[in-house]
Structure formats: C-alpha cells, structure tokens
C-alpha cells in the first residue's frame, strides 16, 4: 500500500461572515491522481490555497500533514520548497518573456545573481521535451496558444522538482485534443515519475478518465471520496454528490419553435488577423440562423469561432472583413458595435471578467450598460426606472445578490454569468451569439442558463451557441456547424450529430492541412 503523501485534517477557513471550509478532511496517497470537484463556491480553490500556503498558516484552523510531518507554510515559496506546485486556472505567465524565461521565473538558473543562459535553454528544452512542447524556447509566450501555455506551466512545475502537482481547472480553456494530451501527460507522470496530482475540474468525463479518487466538496464540506474500482464512478454519481440531488436531465427539454424564417444569413464571410493581416482567421464562411433556432458551432480552440462571431458583431474583431450579412432578408453593413446593437445583434463574450463585465460597478449598472436608452431620455438617466427594470431581470434570471446595488465583482462565477446574459437580454436583441456561456460555471447555474436559452428561443429569438463542450451542443442545439481552421467543414442536424461524428469532421478537415 502506498504511503499517504498528504493529509488535511479538520480544515476550517472563514472569511469575515462566511464559512468557506468547514472541517474538511482529505488524504492523498503518493502517486495517485486525486480529483476535487464541487460547484462554484464549494471551497475547492480555498482548500488548495490553504495547501499551497497562499493562505498562510494561522489564517485557517486544522492541520496539514505532508509526508507525515505537520506543515506550517507561510507562503507559496514555502510550499514549493516541499515540491507542492499549484497551477492556477488563470495562467501565471508573462506574455512578453520567452518560454525559457517563463519556465524559470522566480527559479532562475543562476550563479551569484547572474543568469546562466546556456543552462537555462538546455534545461528548458529538456523539460519541454518531457511535456511534449514543440517550440523554440526563445519564442515569446504571447505567440503560443493556450494549450501550449498550459504545457509550459506544467514544465515550469517540473523545473521546481514537483512532487505534488495541483491543477485548478487546467482544461477549462483547452479544446478536446489538448485536454486529452494534458490528461495523458498526468497519467504518464504518475506512471513514470510517481508524481502525485490533485486535479480540480468541472468536466466530469475527464475525472472519470484520470482520477484514482474523487473527493466531492459541497458548501465547504467534504461530502464523500469515491475510489476507482471500489465505488461506481459515473457522471451521474458525481453530480449527485455535488448538488445533493439527482439531475435527471442535464439539458432542459424544449419544444421546437422553428418557423422556418431565416433571421440571419452570413455568406462568403472572410476575416483576417488584425495584426498579421495576411493570416486568414475566417475563410469564406456561410451560415444561416432561423427564428427560434439554437445553432451551435463546434470546433477546436483557434478554429475561428469567436473571431467569426465578433466580426459579425459590428466588426468588433479582425481586419479586412468581407462578405454579405443579411438579417430578415435585408442586407446589413455593420461597421461599429453600436450599429450591431442597433440592428438587434448581441455578442456575449467567453471572457466575462475580461471583456464582459465591469466588476467595480453594480449589478444594475452592468445590466443597463448596453442599452441605456431603455432607462433614459435625451441622455438623462431615470434611476428609479433603472432599479425597477433591473430588479425584474434579477428575479427572472435568479441572480443571487442582496440588492441590485451589489458590486458584480463580489458575485460568484455563475451569478456573474447570469448578469452578463441579463445585460444582453436587457438590450432586447433578436439574435444572440453566446460564446462559451457556461465556462467555469457550476452544474446548477449551467442548467439555469440553458433554461434561459430555451426561454429566449420561445420568444422567437435566435441563438448562435459557441461551445467547446460537445455534450452541451448536442443537448441544446437544433443544428450544429463544425468549424475548423477558419472554415465551416460540416453542418449537422441534431439527430445526425454525435461527438464522434463531429470529432471525425474536425480530424478529417485538419488532416489535409497538416499533410499539405
């Protein structure tokens, strides 16, 4: 029997007025992959922050035993010295430094304060080979994709002689093949190097794939630990633990509201990169969206889905945009975002904190931001009407906040996402382009967002749904387009689509490119 590498006993952590962790016990054995799951706000990140010393010893109650010895980490540096490395969901890489510089950031290969560049590059290549990162170590981090950045983070952890690797939702911004590669890498480390991992993830199929044990947190408490081979590990089982109830159907049913009227038609749509203007991001795309229809766009990261949606949205992104855009049969020339909003379009960004919400403003200000006309006359705000109408949205969408004056930055991820959706519903668009609307959102809030989508199409609106989660597309869409490297490679009605078929289309399409 392997020995216990880490044991956390009776961890309790309170923030003023909030009990974030309540008497959590957790044991991780050497060489296992231990998954941690729970809804947003269940306490996963807090628990890992306790472990890695971000919340220093004394800021919490309970004991952390590492290698059988009690630990009192005062900072992240302390825990790193013991081989505990945490990789956060938001990567801690400096875009304008090279891969090698990032890899040894804070851990430089140096002699008396002078960096030894020869060793730095040699070691960087070594670690890059281990994680399968094929790049020049002198490449700037800003020039490599998200998947490769994630690999770099892991290489960086290896450079710190990691024994216990903590990954906080590492695959949330990766496509399926990059995710698969990352998970296989963890399995390989476990086999070959005996590295122990703790994996926080919302993606239950991944957990079932790699995890030896799964600890489920709910409301700051460790509900149960499932062991592979002993307990039944299925998505339904884990979801039951997380939400404390059975979700019979993860996607709410909806009747068909299709009328056959085409709401949006995009033809010969081509978009180039805003900086490298010879690079095509969207290549001669055709797309139709009917009234009352949910149309999905499947594809890997970098397939050009976000670029397509944003370029349609008043040329919010890209250069040299060409093509025909028709709404309700009439051709439109949208040259600015206000134009697009005026014409009933809405684009709900995938990056709610970065591009979507104003975290320092209240719920109320955020909701009305894109459509101030509804609460003003001649540019002068009617604040009473604003409170009234936003309050109505708060109730309709079930946004959990004491009042609409609450700052958005203080809400949980799921509630922030609902505010973002509410903001664009408030603008009363006819066509909504939702980009990864359920990213980083817990199961319960996901379900609510799906219900909102269904209500919207019931009102005759049309939804373009961009998602990297294929079950979501299959569960929600009437029709699915498959995009690959800027091109539309397939169009599938719901009945004909399966994950395998979609992946197959992507593989077929990208094969040609790589071979050529």
């Amino acid at each position: 029997m392997a020995n216990t590498l880490l044991e956390m006993r009776g961890i309790t952590k309170t923030f003023p007025g909030v009990l974030a962790l309540s008497n959590v016990n957790m044991a991780v054995e050497e060489g296992e992959i231990h998954a941690l799951c729970g809804e947003n706000g269940a306490g996963k990140s807090t628990l890992m922050n306790v472990l890695s010393g971000i919340y220093p010893h004394g800021a919490y109650e309970g004991d952390v035993l590492y290698d059988g010895k009690p630990c009192e980490f005062r900072s992240m540096k302390d825990s790193e010295r013991h081989g505990i490395v945490i990789i956060h969901q938001e990567l801690a890489l400096v875009p304008y430094l090279t891969i090698a510089e990032n890899m040894f950031l804070g851990n430089e290969r140096q002699r008396r304060g002078r960096i030894d560049w020869n060793i730095t590059y040699e070691k960087a290549r070594e670690y890059m080979a281990v994680v399968g990162l094929n790049e020049d170590p002198r490449t700037l981090v800003k020039d490599i994709g998200m998947g490769k950045q994630q690999l770099l983070e892991i290489a960086k952890a290896l450079a710190k002689n990691v024994r216990l690797l903590i990954l906080d939702e590492p695959t949330s911004s990766l496509n399926e093949s990059d995710s698969q590669r990352l998970l296989d890498l963890l399995l390989q480390f476990k086999r070959e190097k005996g590295i122990t991992s703790i994996l926080i993830s919302h993606k239950l199929n991944e957990l079932a794939y790699v995890a030896d044990k799964i600890t489920v947190l709910r409301d700051g408490m460790a509900i149960e630990t499932l062991t592979k081979g002993v307990d039944e590990i299925t998505e339904e089982r884990i979801i039951r633990g997380m939400v404390g109830r059975e979700i019979v159907d993860r996607y709410p049913k909806r009747e068909s509201f299709l009328t056959g009227e085409v709401a949006l038609e995009v033809a010969n749509w081509t978009v180039y990169h805003p900086l490298y203007t010879e690079r095509k991001l969207v290549d001669n795309v055709h797309l139709t969206l009917r009234r009352g229809e949910v149309v999905g766009i499947a594809g890997l990261i970098g397939a050009g889905r976000t670029e397509l949606a944003m370029s349609i949205f008043g040329k919010a992104y890209g250069a040299k945009i060409s093509g025909i855009l028709k709404k309700d049969g009439r051709q439109l020339w949208l040259n600015s975002i206000p134009d697009a909003i005026q014409n009933g379009l809405a684009y709900i960004t995938e990056d709610r904190k970065g591009d979507g919400l104003i975290l320092t403003n209240s719920v109320k200000h955020n909701v009305t931001l894109a459509h101030p006309k509804a609460i003003s006359r001649h540019g002068i705000l009617d604040k009473d009407r604003e409170v009234h109408s936003v309050e109505a949205y708060r109730q309709k969408l079930g946004i959990k906040c004491p009042t609409v004056e609450q700052l958005v930055g203080n809400l949980s991820g799921g509630n922030q996402q609902k505010v973002l959706v509410g903001k664009w519903m408030f603008a009363e668009p006819e066509i909504m382009m939702l980009d990864e609307p359920t990213r980083g959102v817990d199961v319960g809030a996901k379900y609510e967002i799906y219900q909102i989508i269904n209500q919207l199409v019931a009102q005759g609106k049309s939804i373009l749904l961009i998602s990297s989660e294929m079950p979501e597309l299959l569960g929600m869409c009437d029709r699915i387009y498959v995009m690959c490297e800027g091109r539309m490679v397939a169009e599938l009605p719901r009945k004909e689509a399966t994950q395998e078929i979609i992946m197959n289309h992507i593989m077929q399409a990208s094969k040609g490119e790589i071979g050529a």
């Binding site: 923030f15 919010a316 979507g356 104003i358 403003n361 004491p402 203080n410």
Partner: protein
C-alpha cells in the same frame, strides 16, 4: 436584537468610511481655526480661501473625468492655464481688445488645445501621460513665446470683475439683532451683506427642497433606495447650517475699498459643481465614463464609443483649464511666464484625496471638492500659522499619501461580501476567492 445591532454597526462603519474625508476636512478646519485663534474662519479669510482655491476646484473637476476613464491624468493643465493667461494678457492689455471677445477666444483656444491632445490620445492611442507631458512642455513654451519673457499687467476692471469681485449687494446691508432664541442667549448683533443673507437662505432652502422632493418621490413609488428619514434630516440640517453660516460669514466681511459679500467666482464654482455632479451621476455619458474606467474592453463591447469618450474627457479638461486660466490671470492681475506652474499636481492630488481610484472607474465630484478644500485649508492654515513653505510641501505630500493609503486599505476590507460582521475583523485584510 443582535441582528439589529450588527446592522447598525455595519451601517455606521459604512457611513464612517464614506465620510472619512469629510470628517478629516472638518477636523483640519477646526484644528487650524483653534491654532490661529479663529483667523482661519474669519470673514476675510473665508473669502480668501474661496479665491485662492477656485482654480484647483475647477481643474480638479476636469481632472476627475480624465481619471475616471482609467486613471489617466492630464499633466498639461498648468501650462494650459499659463498659455491662456498669456493670450488673455496679450489681447486685452497689449491689443486692447474687447474683454468678452477675448474670453470667448480663450475658451475657444481651450477647445482647440483639448482637441489637439484628445486626437493623439483617443484616436492615435498614445498614452495620455506622454501626450500631456508633451503638452506641458509645448504650452509652457508657447506661454514664454507669447509673453516674450515679460510679465504683462495690469488687467482692466472689466476683466477682473468676473472672477475677483463680489456680487453687487442689490438688497443692501441688513442689521441682524437676535439677543436670544427659545430661551438661549445668542447675542447675535451684526451687519450683514443683504444679498449674502438672502442667497444663503435661498441656496439652503433649494437644497432642502430638492432632497426632500426626491426622498418623498422615491418613497411614494416604494423604492428601497430611499434610505431612512432620520439620516436624511440630520444631513439636511447639517448641510443647510453649514451653507447659511458660510454665506453669513462671507456677508460680514467688510472691505474698506471694495464692496464685499458673495464672491462672483463662487457662482461659477457652484454652477460647475452642480453641472458636473449631475453629469457624472445622472447622464448616460457620465455612466459611460465610469464604465470605461472600470473595464475598457467590456465597455467597448457594450457599444460604448470609448474613443469618443476619451476625446471628450480631454477636450473638457482643456476647456476647464482655460476657464481656470482666466480666473487665475484675473486674480494675479497679470500674465506671467510661470503662471499655473505645478497646478496639474494640485488638481490630481485633490482627486485622489477625494477618493478617486488611480485605476479609474471610481470617484465623485463631491469627493473631489472635499479633496480640493482639504488641500486648500492645509495650505492656507499653515500659512496663517507661519509654517515655512518647505515644511508645507512635506505635510501636503504626506497627506496625499496617507489619504490614498487609507483608501486602498479600507477598500480591501470593503471588498468582502456585504453581510460580514463588522466586529470580527482579522488583523490581516484578505481578499476572498470567488
């Protein structure tokens, strides 16, 4: 019961935080007034305070809008004040042009300067720091060129009357004699400028009426945001008492050579403060300024014309700087090469002391006024006490640092969920992971 106590406690601590700078201002005023044995709040000095600080308040309002867009500052305002003064001096004193025409030309020049800087900032996307640093040099240089190295003086009364004079006392001197009121001995026996008395009454009555109307209106419609009546009454009484006292104090200022009373520049300040208060809180454009400062990308994707708003903020700043330039020229009664030197820093300090965020998106006109007054009273008070300017600078620097540090630290604590218990505070502020 305990819940009520907690609620009361949290309300109190919130209010304290909100009014910290106001409390600091009151404390500083009382301190210097005692130390100078009442000279700080003497009728003459109160008028002086207004004259001395008018330019800071005008500039700080403009600066606030720039800071709101994302912590962007305008370093050129001091030089703009200088160049506008120089233009006014050249045209009025040397060229003998019509005063009103020149004032219009100066404001137009302000618009032109703002458009020039706004163009580079908003449309070429050069950082405001660089553009306005360049502007600081360019406009100071232009000031020297226009003045040819000389100081031009004096300005005619027709020009000075607008910003250095007093409103004509159309009501006439009034004698107030109140030996006692409701059994309390008051011994009030003084002669007051009639207009000042009436204006004080009207201004505070207008304030009370507007506040009460909006309160009753909200309550009638049943909004929770109305707040409680007791707090409102306390505020109404306090503010109107301050206003009435201020006007009466100004009214008792007897100047042998000039009719004293309500300074004309106070009217300008009042209008600007009300206008920009309304603009920042009650208009769509004002709302957009805050949004841009909070998250520029999100603002752009919400259909806000971010470039146009940046352009507006800098044009507005330059226009207000030109107004301040006219005020300053009249006050100094001359156009000199170094007029306005360092004013940008006074304005920036006022905004930050007044609670504006160095990252943008947070700040109010009211707070900025308090910040400007705090700096003004410190300046004036220390001068009254005969503290050397060298020490004054050290004190002002430390006050700025303390005010912002206090703000940053208290923000860290308020960034927690609102239902926290105010009595359980850990020594170390923590930001909760959400």
């Amino acid at each position: 019961m305990s819940v009520n106590l907690e609620k009361l406690g949290s309300q109190l601590s919130r209010n304290l935080k909100q009014y910290t700078m106001l409390i600091a201002l009151v404390a500083v005023v009382l301190f210097f007034n005692t130390q100078s044995s009442g000279r700080l709040l003497s009728p003459m000095n109160v008028s002086n305070l207004i004259f001395q600080n008018a330019y800071v308040i005008i500039l700080a309002i403009g600066m606030l809008l720039c800071i709101l867009t994302g912590g962007n500052i305008d370093l050129s305002v001091g030089s703009v004040v200088g160049v506008i003064g120089a233009v006014a001096g050249r045209l009025i004193i040397t060229e003998k042009m019509d005063v009103h025409l020149v004032m219009a030309i100066c404001v137009a020049a302000g618009i032109a300067i703002g458009m020039w800087q706004g163009f580079w900032i908003a449309y070429v996307r050069i950082p405001p720091f660089i553009v306005t640093l360049a502007g600081m040099l360019v406009f100071r240089g232009l000031t020297l060129i226009i003045l040819g190295g000389q100081t031009i003086a004096p300005f005619p009364d027709a020009f000075k009357q607008y910003t250095t004079g007093f409103l004509p006392d159309i009501i006439g001197r009034t004698h107030i004699y109140i030996p006692e009121l409701w059994g309390i001995r008051l011994n009030i026996d003084m002669t007051v400028n009639g207009l000042s008395l009436v204006a004080g009454g009207l201004v505070s009555a207008a304030y009370v009426a507007v506040q009460l109307y909006s309160y009753l209106n909200r309550r009638r419609k049943g909004y929770a945001t109305a707040g409680n009546l007791r707090g409102l009454i306390v505020r109404l009484v306090a503010v109107s008492a301050v206003l009435v006292t201020l006007f009466i104090t100004m009214g008792t200022y007897v100047n042998e050579r000039m009719p004293a009373g309500v300074p004309t520049v106070l009217v300008l300040l009042g209008i600007l403060l009300l206008l920009y208060s309304f603009f920042t809180t009650n208009t769509v454009m004002g709302r957009h300024l805050y949004a841009i400062g909070g998250n520029q990308k999100a603002a752009r994707l919400s259909g806000i014309k971010t470039n146009a708003m940046m352009f507006f903020a800098y044009v507005n700043m330059a226009v207000l700087a030109s107004v301040a330039g006219l005020v300053m020229a009249a006050r100094l009664n001359s156009a000199a090469a170094d007029t306005g030197d360092g004013f940008e820093l006074d304005a920036i300090a006022a905004c930050f002391i007044g609670g504006a965020s160095a990252y943008g998106g947070i700040g109010t006109v009211g707070g900025t006024l308090i910040g400007a007054l705090l700096m003004g009273v410190l300046n004036n008070g220390m001068s009254l006490l005969g503290i050397p300017t060298s020490v004054q600078k050290v004190v002002k620097g430390l006050v700025l640092l303390t005010a912002v540090a206090f703000d940053v630290i208290s923000k860290k604590q308020t960034a927690l969920p609102p239902f926290r218990l105010p009595f359980k505070r850990k020594a170390k502020p923590e930001v909760m992971a959400l």
